[in-house]
């Protein structure tokens, strides 16, 4: 009497290898999906961070002489790479939620404007705390003829 196919040694070995590879595949597929979701999230957040950074570094906003009472779009520079002190002062008084809403942001944001020697000029928003994802967008500008770095972190 012939042994059943399923009980042969070769067959058991090949099945074992196959099942192992299936498990391996499922594991990495799930990892890949996770990675893809993370990458997409990072890209989205980075675009948001860049948008905020550009509005700080490059644009005067709309209208160009906006104030706390009337603003359509935020911008914090007189001209490219020259920050407006008055508008930065306004920023301190803008509510965090209003700021996020202006950029259509569900995530959190933290803005750090510092002199190149490390001294802080302005900190705004929430410092990242146990973030699952955090992205940074950085640039440089001038405040009263002094070079400052402008770093925008968006996180969740």
């Amino acid at each position: 009497m012939l042994k059943a196919q399923v009980l042969s040694g070769d067959y058991i070995l090949s099945i074992t290898v196959f099942l192992t590879s299936v498990v391996f595949f499922i594991y990495f597929t799930s990892q890949y999906t996770e990675i893809t979701h993370v990458e997409q999230a990072k890209t989205y957040l980075l675009n948001k961070a860049n948008e905020i950074r550009d509005s700080i570094l490059y644009y005067p906003g709309t209208p160009s002489h906006w104030n706390s009472s009337y603003v359509i779009k935020y911008g914090f520079s007189d001209k490219r790479n020259v920050l407006n002190i008055t508008k930065l002062t306004y920023l301190k008084n803008i509510s965090y939620e209003d700021f996020k809403n202006a950029y259509n942001l569900n995530e959190e944001v933290f803005i750090n404007i510092s002199y190149v020697n490390g001294t802080n000029y302005l900190l705004y928003g929430l410092i990242p705390s146990n973030p699952s994802i955090v992205v940074k967008s950085k640039g440089y500008s001038l405040i009263e003829k002094k070079v400052v770095s402008v770093e925008v972190q968006v996180w969740n």
Binding site: S14, Q31, N50, G139, S141
Partner: protein, 634 residues
């Protein structure tokens, strides 16, 4: 119970299972390695490019003045070592970096960047691919972004401070030529004398007269001893000085003569008179006669926008001879008088005054072209149009014509016949076309022009020189000659004085080998319509090359003579502007003087030069761009 010996299913073979396993593992590994980085390279690259751009922009915005307020030590270092003046404090830092690099002071450039951008960032600054400053180390595997800024550069290895000079001639002396054309006129009929008198005014100091010559063309009986009865200049007999440059053979001849009169010409009014006869035809002058005077001149050109100019006829006097009561030679005076209207003129007034003496209504007549009957005592034509023709006249006649409607730009000619026409003469005793501008200008035959000419104003302060270029070569018809110029001058205008053995019907063609070819300068409107001066517009002339003339007369034997000439009026600049930069003032001045002398030429003597120098601290000197690059990497 026995089982059948069946084949194993394909899907459950060992090979298939192993293959599927390998496939699944491979796909898994590919997925894993596909996401090593937390950010996409494209986004990283854009991010770093923006940082590079930010840094370049900061270097473009920040000025030396800002640096002075922030770091006076570094500022002083820059001022001292890069020869920058206080007036240049608004210069951008990017330009200072470029200047430092060009001056071989990359250390200063690095100090500026280090002070201004003490960043915690991997970046480097380059000037024309030379590394000026760098933070961090890079390798080929890093993601690098760059921003580049072209900066108008400064000349390398040159001292930015120096001198430049300009110069102008304040006093000059040059030779220029005055030319007075002798008009065509006649006649002494059948051996009777014809006297032509030319009065002309030389507005030059006596001591400035260098040379003077008379060229004249006649048709006379071929024995000068007998038939040139008088040849005088300022009442001085100059017949013995006469040199025939050309003379036909026979009794009834055309001839072209030359007389050196340098010692007889005088400042002010001069009087040239010739009396001659021709028993075989009628005595008259031919085209090509002129008086040329070379003088010194020291004044500069002063353009006049508003001109009054009077052109006087030569006095043409015909006297008859008689043989008893039964024969007389008859008289008649005629003249081909030409004048010119400069290009661009607006002629406001043009009047012809004629004073004709001893007009006779003798009942004489003539034939034109062999079949047209003419019996008018006085005929006046301008540019081929008859404006006056009357019979039945007698005595002295003073006529006045508004000739403005008949004028044209350039050469204009008037033919006046009194008691004659062509080869026919019917006056009695004397006939005269009267002209004495010295003693009786208001009763002299003349043309008065009043015109406005603004085009000359831009040549104020230039040096005006008139030169006479003889055509040369050999007598010929058609005749070809080339006048080559090599000058920095502008040709204002020119007058051609054509000399021929005989003349009838001419065409003058021109080619300057530089844009103007086959230009018809002049064409006779009728028989013997050959003026003493033919006008040419100045811009036709090639001042740096050949100017070719082709002359044609329809008649055989009417060869053009090599003593034909072009009277060319030149305008030469008398100044040069600022030139190259020199380290010392003396070199700059010498350069300006040399340029001025080369421009003016050796024929003009510069007696005094005035110059101005400028320190080039105030003159920007730049050449093509230096590329400033900021590189940022991950």
């Amino acid at each position: 119970m026995e089982l059948n010996n069946q084949k194993k299913g394909a899907v459950f073979t060992y090979d298939a299972l192993i293959a599927a396993s390998l496939l699944l593992v491979s796909i898994s590994l590919v997925m894993y390695t596909a996401h090593e980085n937390s950010q996409t390279p494209k986004l990283t690259s854009i991010d770093k490019y923006k940082i590079a751009t930010d840094l370049i922009n900061i270097l473009q915005i920040y000025t030396l003045k800002d640096l002075k307020e922030a770091n006076n030590t570094l500022y002083n270092n820059i001022i001292t070592n890069l020869n920058i003046t206080n007036e240049e404090e608004n210069i951008k830092i990017s330009e200072i970096i470029a200047l430092a690099h060009i001056s071989g002071r990359d250390d200063i450039a690095a100090n500026i960047i280090k002070f201004l951008l003490p960043l915690n960032e991997n970046f480097a600054v380059y000037a024309n691919n030379t590394e000026i400053y760098k933070v961090g180390s890079d390798n080929a595997n890093m993601l690098v972004s760059s921003a580049i800024l072209p900066i108008s550069g400064y000349a390398e290895n040159k001292n930015p401070l120096g001198y430049s000079a300009r110069a102008y001639a304040k006093k000059i002396e040059r030779n220029t030529t005055l030319i007075y054309p002798i008009y065509v006129g006649g006649s002494g009929n059948e051996g009777a004398p014809y006297t032509q008198t030319k009065l002309f005014y030389v507005d030059v100091n006596q001591t400035d007269i260098i040379n003077a010559s008379i060229y004249f063309a006649v048709h006379y009986g071929g024995d000068e001893t007998i038939h040139i009865q008088s040849l005088k200049l300022n009442d001085v007999n100059i017949k013995s000085r006469l040199v025939w440059l050309w003379e036909d053979n026979g009794f009834n001849v055309g001839a072209y003569g030359y007389i050196d009169v340098h010692d007889i010409i005088k400042s002010g009014w001069n009087n040239f008179t010739i009396t001659f006869t021709n028993p075989y035809f009628h005595s008259h002058t031919h085209p090509g006669g002129r008086i040329e005077i070379i003088t010194k001149k020291r004044t500069f050109y002063k353009p006049m926008s508003y001109k009054n100019k009077t052109f006087y006829f030569d006095d043409a006097f015909s006297k008859e001879i008689t043989w008893g009561w039964w024969w007389r030679s008859y008289t008649g005076a005629w003249e081909v008088f030409d004048f010119y209207v400069p290009e661009g003129s607006l002629v406001n007034n043009a009047t012809l005054y004629l004073n004709i003496k001893d007009v006779e209504d003798s009942g004489g007549w003539a034939y034109d072209n062999g079949w047209i009957y003419i019996n008018e005592d006085v005929i006046v034509r301008i540019n081929g149009q008859e404006i006056y023709a009357k019979d039945g006249l007698s005595g002295d006649l003073e006529l006045s014509f508004n000739i403005l409607p008949y004028l044209k730009e350039g050469t204009n000619y008037i033919i006046v016949y009194a008691n004659c026409y062509g080869n026919y003469f019917f006056g009695i005793d004397e006939t005269r076309i009267y002209s004495d501008p010295k003693n009786d200008p208001l009763h002299s035959s003349r043309v008065f022009l009043n015109y406005t000419l603004d085009r000359d104003s831009r040549f104020y302060g230039y040096i005006d020189v008139t030169k006479s270029y003889e055509f040369g070569g050999a007598a010929d018809n058609p005749y070809n000659t080339i006048i080559t110029l090599n000058t920095s001058a502008t040709v204002q205008e020119a007058l051609l004085h054509l000399a021929q053995k005989y003349s009838y019907d001419i065409e003058v063609w021109f080619n300057n080998h530089s844009g103007y070819s086959d230009i018809l300068i002049y064409e006779s409107q009728g028989a013997r319509d050959v003026p003493s001066s033919i006008y040419m517009k100045g811009y036709l002339w090639n001042t740096k090359g050949d100017n070719e003339f082709n002359l044609i007369d329809t008649c055989n034997g009417c060869e053009f003579l090599p003593w034909s000439s072009a009277e060319v009026k030149l305008l030469i600049p008398s100044f040069v502007s600022y030139g190259k930069i020199f380290e010392n003032e003396e070199d700059a001045i010498n350069d300006a003087i040399n340029r001025l002398q080369n421009l003016i030429g050796s024929e003009i003597n510069i007696l005094e030069i005035s110059n101005e120098t400028l320190s080039t601290g105030n003159i920007p000197w730049m050449y093509g761009p230096l590329l400033l690059k900021v590189k940022v990497w991950v």
